[in-house]
């Protein structure tokens, strides 16, 4: 498997977009071929990522060493390289991304939202896949930036073209606007605003690295420099702040989250799934991969602030959920809360906390992905997302109702299901954060976070009660509802199985992450290990 060593990651990243280009060549009316190509390229990328797991050497190895590494010149003039590689932290996320993509294609097989056009939709999905996979393997800041931004275009079109067409009164607009139009541009502008500053942060790192040799965008080299204390004082503080803006908008953290409920609600089902399951992870992943290792000291000084924003997000998200009448919007706000737990875990800067964050990301991807699938399918049948009209769903569609109940339980963090570990461990982590961090702030956060878990249970049960229980509304009398069909089953069963498996046996994630995370925390914060700076700086 020599070739896989050097080509594996590149193929996983670019097979989807190549599939997309091929689809572009197929005439529109050959829908079968279009779908087959779409599914084919998603499956190939997923199978390749399975091969990746089988070839991956688990355990051991210190942080900042990568497997399947490729490093070629890309933009020679500015010393930016095509540098990709993978370690225990990015592996689960990359596999999650390729896995969800396959399910999304299967689901969309017979679920095309108006104006249909499977060809265009699949091309956009596959382009999105390339951007997401690429972000998880990029080891060069410019390359990372490009992949991080590439996802914007397809998502913009997905929301804008296939999104929700209901007219809504939006403050500041004279006329009523279609939800999709408002949501798509808001999504784009928020992210773009964040990433403009993120880019300035990257460039500042690049500039500063010139003090210690050739200027570089390479994350591995920058991590070495950062670990040795190359970036300090006001400079580093500002750089962290600039990157924080970019990542926090993407996560999204309170108070940068306002694009999320709109985008999620307006997006077509598959769009919401991909957005929730993978796109949100790009931001939190970037915190772990870039902010902490390159600017460890700044991470320490920003950590309490991040923790506070996270718990505000948890409480705010939960309370906002309780005020929703729209099912999809409720799920969207629940993401704000869940990502709050993830960010709280990261803010502790401890190995438990960061492990919690990663398993939390994977679990949130699976669970919220499934929730959006179910919500989309119910909307497909009822043509409404108003929870007050959906009551008694259990009687009309028992299987659908059962899956919804299961997923809601997973989402509220029921022990034994995947959602539990992220929340639980992130609270454990904040009881005992990295040495030197304010115990007061973190233990208070823990308590508030714990209250948040109760609220989470509250709104999930509130949703279940409204949607599943009770008697069906009179308006549905005489309607025949088709319960879960085979494409939906094919897309959802794997998710359900994984949610249970990870819940019962979380080791399959920790096997990959623990060693890397421990080593990350050690190299970043252990003052005994001080490498010397090159260049005498």
């Amino acid at each position: 498997m020599e070739w896989f060593e050097s080509w594996g990651l590149t193929l996983i990243v670019f097979v989807p977009v190549i599939g997309g280009l091929l689809i572009g060549l197929v005439p529109k009316d050959k829908e079968g071929l279009v779908k087959a190509l779409g599914l084919g390229s998603a499956v190939v990328a997923f199978l390749l990522s399975l091969v990746l797991i089988s070839q991956f050497e688990f355990g051991g190895g210190s942080y900042n060493t990568y497997q399947f590494e490729v490093n070629n010149t890309w933009i020679g003039a500015i010393n930016a390289n095509y540098h990709v590689g993978i370690d225990g932290i990015s592996l689960p996320l990359l596999v999650l991304s390729t896995f969800i993509m396959v399910l999304a294609v299967i689901y969309s097989w017979n679920h095309w939202e108006e104006p249909r056009n499977p060809k265009a939709f699949l091309i956009l999905m596959l382009l999105l896949a390339t951007g997401m996979n690429g972000t998880f393997v990029a080891l060069d800041l410019v390359l990372f930036f490009i992949f991080f931004e590439i996802v914007l275009l397809p998502m913009y079109f997905m929301i804008g073209v296939w999104g929700d067409k209901t007219l809504r009164k939006i403050p500041g607009f004279a006329k009523e606007v279609e939800t999709r139009l408002y949501a798509s541009i808001k999504f784009f502008l928020f992210t773009l605003f964040g990433s403009a500053f993120m880019l300035l942060g990257f460039l500042a790192l690049y500039f500063k690295s010139g003090d210690f040799g050739e200027r570089t965008f390479d994350m591995v080299e920058l991590t070495n420099l950062g670990g040795a204390g190359a970036f300090t004082s006001t400079f580093a503080f500002l750089v962290f702040g600039a990157m924080f803006l970019g990542f926090a908008v993407k996560v999204p953290m309170w108070p940068f989250h306002t694009w999320l409920p709109d985008a999620h609600t307006a997006a077509p089902t598959v769009g919401s799934v991909l957005l929730a399951a993978i796109l949100l992870k790009l931001g939190s992943y970037a915190f772990i991969r870039i902010s902490i290792p390159i600017l460890p000291q700044e991470a320490k000084s920003w950590a309490p602030f991040i923790a506070i924003l996270s718990v505000i997000g948890i409480i705010y998200g939960s309370l906002a959920c309780l005020a929703q009448t729209d099912m999809k919007r409720l799920i969207a706000f629940s993401s704000v809360g869940h990502m709050g737990f993830v960010m709280l875990g990261i803010a502790t800067l401890s190995d438990i906390g960061i492990n919690a964050a990663i398993i939390g990301m994977v679990a949130h991807g699976l669970i919220t992905g499934l929730l959006f699938f179910v919500a989309g399918s119910m909307h497909h049948r009822y043509h409404t997302r108003e929870m007050s009209r959906l009551g008694g769903n259990m009687k009309l569609m028992p299987i659908m109702g059962g899956i919804l109940a299961f997923t809601a339980m997973a989402s509220l963090g029921l022990p034994g299901l995947a959602g539990f570990w992220g929340e639980f461990m992130s609270l454990v982590g904040s009881y005992n954060p990295l040495e030197g961090l304010s115990l007061g702030v973190f233990r208070t956060s823990m308590v508030i976070g714990a209250i948040g878990t109760v609220l989470t249970a509250g709104y999930m049960l509130y949703m279940l009660q409204n949607v599943n229980l009770g008697e069906p509304q009179a308006e549905w009398e005489g309607h025949e509802f088709h319960d879960v069909d085979r494409f939906e089953m094919a897309a959802w069963v794997p998710l359900i199985i994984l949610i249970v498996v990870i819940g019962v046996y979380p080791k399959i994630i920790f096997e990959s992450t623990t060693d890397t995370v421990v080593s990350l925390v050690q190299t970043a914060f252990d003052s005994d290990i001080t490498a010397s700076l090159p260049g005498g700086g």
Partner: protein, 495 residues
């Protein structure tokens, strides 16, 4: 002092002159239905002019003539390449437009070529006189071309406004230059660079530099001297507008930078703050005004004002920070080249769509994606590229801008970087508005689609070239970095 002619060095200019004469002669001979041969000759001649460029580039020798006043080095070659390629593209755009509206064809091509000749001269100029002659030869023919749609009042207005503003700015520029000459007795850049050292407190010198900047600011329509641009752009025939916003703008830009960089580096205390202000104002005013536009050409006019601001940023930042000007200069030139490509593409697609749907109003473009998906995709490519969204070429231009600002360092430049970052987001909004109309909105019920009004072959070729380059440079920016590298080794022409 010897004046040896190096004919290979000026071969591109000679080819253009010859083409002008051929076009002129053809126009006299041919009967009306056969006039399209003048277009063919112009396109072929422009392409031919690129051949000696390749020889010169392969040769790689720095050729200096007329005692160092006229220099052909790598930098000049890159710029000449840009001018010739963009002129070639504009000619491709013009063909269908000029023929369908029954304009005078021969004169049109003759004047465009004359303007190209001016920009080629300008790229090599290393003294004030050649620079001035080159610049005026570039803009002069455009006063006529802007009014080419004779029957249209708007076109008349365009021409008149452009002429009056142009003449005014020329006067100011020339006055500034004459002061420079009066104070130093030098016209050559290398001589000026030495003679102006230590004169930065001399009141007349301050006046001279400010006048020169003022003159150029009018030419490149930098805010607050931009008021002529939207009216002129809207009234002029669209291919001429494309030429105005790319070639003539680039020529003005390069001229200004050459003077600042090569002739007046010692006076950066005077011109650096002025450029900083021009950059910040152009970005902000251009973008804010563009937000409100409903006509696509006016939108592009304001966008090009804003883009001029972005382009100035690296050079202004480097100068204000007092750091090495070379980095800022090369980033600005890189931006200029990428901007030229994608902006011509944007105008090409505007011509193609206006042709198809019969309107230049953004609202009128609603649902284009459903009517003609290919044109819709092209609109998305060019407008998102102008907005700087990866993986399209525009991102690298913006990236280079930010990179050189950060390298320049200093608080004044960081402020400029933040202004630029905010402006990049504002700019996205109006570019996206066009894409939104094309892809997100439904076609109007009464839209008249004229299937027979397809784009001509030459227009398609122009679209293909620009779109291909926009995507290719975006994915593999090394295709464009040679521009920046060439700008670093610019020869001053010696003494």
């Amino acid at each position: 002092m010897t004046f040896e002619m190096d004919y290979l060095a000026i071969a591109p200019e000679l080819v253009i002159v010859a083409t002008m004469l051929v076009v002129f002669a053809l126009d006299l001979i041919l009967t009306r239905p056969k006039k399209y041969w003048t277009a063919t000759a112009a396109v072929a001649g422009t392409a031919l002019a690129a051949v000696p460029l390749i020889f010169l580039a392969v040769d790689g020798e720095v050729r200096s003539m007329f005692d160092g006043s006229y220099v052909v080095d790598e930098f000049a070659l890159v710029l000449k390449g840009l001018f010739i390629v963009s002129a070639y593209l504009v000619l491709l755009l013009s063909h269908q437009y000029i023929e369908s509206e029954r304009f005078y064809q021969g004169e049109y091509y003759f004047l465009i070529l004359a303007s190209v000749l001016g920009s080629l001269l300008m790229a090599s100029s290393r003294d004030l006189i050649i620079l001035f002659v080159g610049l005026e030869l570039t803009t002069g023919p455009l006063y006529l071309l802007a009014g080419w749609r004779k029957g249209d009042l708007k076109s008349n207005e365009a021409s008149l406004k452009y002429f009056i503003m142009g003449v005014l700015s020329t006067g100011i520029l020339l006055w500034g230059m004459s002061l420079l000459y009066g104070l130093t007795g030098e016209v050559k850049f290398s001589g000026l660079a030495e003679a102006t050292v230590g004169l930065e407190t001399e009141p007349a010198m301050i006046l001279a530099v400010l006048f020169v900047i003022l003159g150029f600011a009018f030419k490149i329509s930098a805010a607050p001297f931009h008021f002529w641009a939207p009216d002129t752009y809207e009234g002029a025939p669209t291919p001429v507008t494309a030429y105005l916003s790319v070639n003539s703008k680039a020529a003005g830009f390069v001229a200004m930078l050459l003077v600042m960089y090569l002739a007046l580096p010692g006076l950066s205390d005077i011109w650096a703050p002025a450029l900083w202000i021009l950059a910040a104002l152009s970005m902000t005013l251009g973008n804010l005004s563009a937000l409100r536009q409903t006509n696509i050409v006016r939108l592009l006019a304001y966008s090009s004002i804003a883009q001029a601001g972005f382009m100035l940023v690296p050079f202004a930042a480097a100068a204000v920070a007092g750091s090495n000007l070379e980095q800022g200069f090369s980033a600005t030139i890189t931006y200029l080249v990428i901007y030229s490509l994608m902006n011509i593409g944007a105008f090409a697609v505007v011509i193609a769509v206006s042709n198809r749907l019969g309107t230049g109003q953004i609202d009128g473009w609603s649902g284009l994606g459903k009517i003609d998906a290919r044109l819709g995709i092209l609109v998305a490519i060019f407008f998102f590229s102008l907005a700087g969204i990866p993986p399209l070429a525009g991102w690298f231009a913006k990236f280079e801008m930010f990179r050189s600002v950060i390298i320049a360092g200093g608080s004044a430049t960081i402020v400029l970087a933040v202004i630029a970052a905010i402006n990049a987001v504002i700019a996205f909004y109006y570019y996206a508005r066009v894409v939104k109309a094309v892809w997100l909105d439904d076609p109007a019920a009464d839209v008249i689609i004229e299937p027979e009004r397809q784009s001509s072959g030459s227009l398609r070729l122009a679209l293909l070239i620009t779109a291909g380059l926009t995507v290719a440079i975006g994915i593999y920016p090394s295709f464009a970095t040679f521009v920046g590298e060439a700008s670093r080794v610019i020869a001053t022409g010696g003494g």
